[in-house]
Symmetry: C2
Subunit: 253 residues, 2 copies
């Protein structure tokens, strides 16, 4: 048996957002590897072994997946959203580079998924419709000073912004500091959006301003977006539409 490794994105939650190529990879797999709640999204079947592991176990999990593929297994590593955005693809290549030389000859593919960022953006309209940036607010893997520097430069560049991992029980104060930096840099009227568990039964979506935003509006499952100076809001019966126009005169220069 010839092994392979596919690093796939399951999308934000809804089955209807899983691409056919990802479904096909899961149907051919002998082993599925990932964080427990994501592995549980893959139904059990005969011939499939599911290997769920804890959060923050990414490198050990990546090594396990590479080793199984080298041993002839057909291994799918699952991430929520897209595997290339703060997820397992980078961990796989870190483990590959540091690992056994034979792993370099493995058949590896990364299959993209609908990212949480783009699912949240679609739910709200088109807040990322112009130039934007995407920042992981967790300081587990980088110093807080770098996050703060990036927030200030992103505001100066007038990017729309998408934030992953805004808040966790282990770091309750970080997101409050991020909001303070953004309020100083963008002003209190700037729109901010909280999109939690988009496309799942637990979905909640809220649009407010930096002046009104509270740290408690986000948790680990929330994708946060902040508009650029050009971002607009259209009221309706549901949560308002938010969009960033495609064009700008450059008045923000």
């Amino acid at each position: 048996m010839t092994g392979w490794l596919k690093v796939v994105g399951l999308g934000p939650g809804a089955e209807a957002m899983v691409t056919p190529e990802v479904s096909a990879a899961l149907a051919e797999a002998t082993d599925v590897v990932g964080y427990v709640p994501y592995v549980e999204r893959v139904p059990p079947r005969p011939g499939l072994t599911r290997h769920g592991s804890d959060n923050r176990e990414e490198i050990r999990r990546a090594e396990q997946a590479l080793r199984m593929a080298a041993n002839g297994r057909r291994v799918v590593v699952v991430s929520s959203g897209d595997p290339g955005v703060f997820a397992m693809a980078a961990a796989i290549f870190e483990a590959l580079e540091a690992g056994e030389p034979a792993w370099h000859a493995l058949d590896i593919q990364v299959l993209p998924g609908i990212s949480a960022m783009l699912a949240a953006s679609a739910r709200l309209g088109a807040p990322l419709g112009h130039d934007f940036c995407c920042i992981n607010l967790s300081d587990n893997l980088k110093p807080w000073a770098l996050i703060e520097k990036r927030l200030r430069l992103a505001a100066e560049a007038d990017f729309a912004m998408a934030f992953y991992n805004p808040r966790s029980r282990a770091r309750p104060e970080g997101f409050a500091r991020a909001l303070q930096v953004l309020r100083e840099a963008c002003g209190p009227q700037r729109p901010i959006m909280f999109a939690r568990a988009v496309s799942t039964p637990e979905e909640t979506v809220r649009v407010t301003t930096l002046g009104e935003a509270q740290p408690e509006m986000a948790d680990m499952r929330t994708l946060v977006m902040v508009g650029s100076s050009q971002t607009r809001r259209i009221e309706r019966d549901d949560v308002p539409w938010v969009y960033t126009p495609r064009s700008t005169s450059g008045s923000e220069l």
Copy 2:
């Protein structure tokens, strides 16, 4: 008949990357609206009218789609990639805000797709695996000075970068200037990636450095990515893997 409007992403090209919810919307549509080559990706069938229009016709196309939905049609507006990333979703909301008040009550949904950026990133490994930004290099809809300012600030923030619309026949010189700005800001050794028509039969992928990059390496169908200071390259028989590690010590501060 109750009309609706769905603004959908067809992904980068491969049918296997079209999500089931987008396929279902296309199966229920009476009308498909979009740029000619994207509309042609939807096979003709009885009961479906395909409305292809030229590039740079986005607002007129958006108004046409909103009007048809208001008249009871089931309208799908198609974009390549994701509709929220430099595509039709922002144009629809611009037209909605400026248009007839009755349109505000329309049933509108945006269905995300696999963006060109994330398909290209997957093809190459995980170059966007840490904080990144996404910039449209076309100066059709914004002044060049704003693009250049964003490039310099993105380099200072040490983002990985994804660039849409790097080069067109109408603006052959812009991309050469962008490369010069990036070389000055990031140095000649920084990896740059050219991913053309990813997931289609015409796919070509190239990894080089800013020092070696030539403007002719990109055309209208090329997604360009530049690594951060932390981005790494793993050689193999195919085009090298490129990834940006999840963690950083902050030495780039």
